[in-house]
Amino acid sequence: MTAKIAYAGVEVGTELPAQTFPVTRATLVQYAGASGDFNPIHWNERFAKEVGLPDVIAHGMFTMAEAIRVVTDWAGDPGAVVEYGVRFTRPVVVPDDDKGAVIEVSGKVAAKLDDNTVRVDLTATSAGQKVLGASRAVVRLA
């Protein structure tokens, strides 16, 4: 593991560069194929509405995959991630238009732990609402 960020150089409260991730229906179709999750709530509006959703929603695991990029892009080495967990609190609703939805992710060092690791707390929102809760990663720094 070769993180490009030095443990000594971060403090509790250090902010990671925030990122925004666009999501369209095409993104969800591509993710369905790559992940093998073909649940129709992620691509079929008729089905999604039948089961009580406002519209097609993004895969929770897609949102989880995007959120950790704030950590892996910062650390440089994705293999430096030691732990990663989230709670799926609210769906990312993806309308059938040219814009789709946007997931905004920010992160902050919440604790310095043993063995050159730090805990990063992530915040992920879409349309102004938090979509992940208790979203935390532990990452080993240089």
């Binding site: 993104t27 790559a34 695991m61 950790i68 994705p78 991630v81 732990e83």
Partner: protein, 150 residues
Amino acid sequence: MALDQSFVGRTYPPTEPYEVGREKIREFAEAVGDANPAYTDTEAAKALGHPDVIAPPTFVFAITFKAAGQVIADPQLGLDYSRVVHGDQKFAYKRPVRAGDRLTVTSTIETIRTMAGNDILDVRGEVHDQNGEHVVTAWTKLVARAAEEA
């Protein structure tokens, strides 16, 4: 209907090995729009100290969730999958998954709870490689929403 508490602690047989392909990793990285070269360029991965390209952190979910399907589909447990939503997900990594890994998953039911008519099931998946070395543990919380009154 409340699930049978006697299933807590039950461990299912390990899955058949899943071979992690470099093109599958590339496909996944492209699908999440992640251009980190550690996923696609062997030399870049080696420069970071990995023997081959590695997979994004959440890649392994496809494998552990398929394994959790043994639990979900267990007729004796009687979970109504049509009502299941994904509550929480957590991973603890010993090392990143990489191309060429042959991974097996052993799933265990950790807890079963009922809250407000919802059945809540925690499944732990232990992922090992072809050498029997531990790679990652995945915890998946599944929530089967209460059936609506007819």
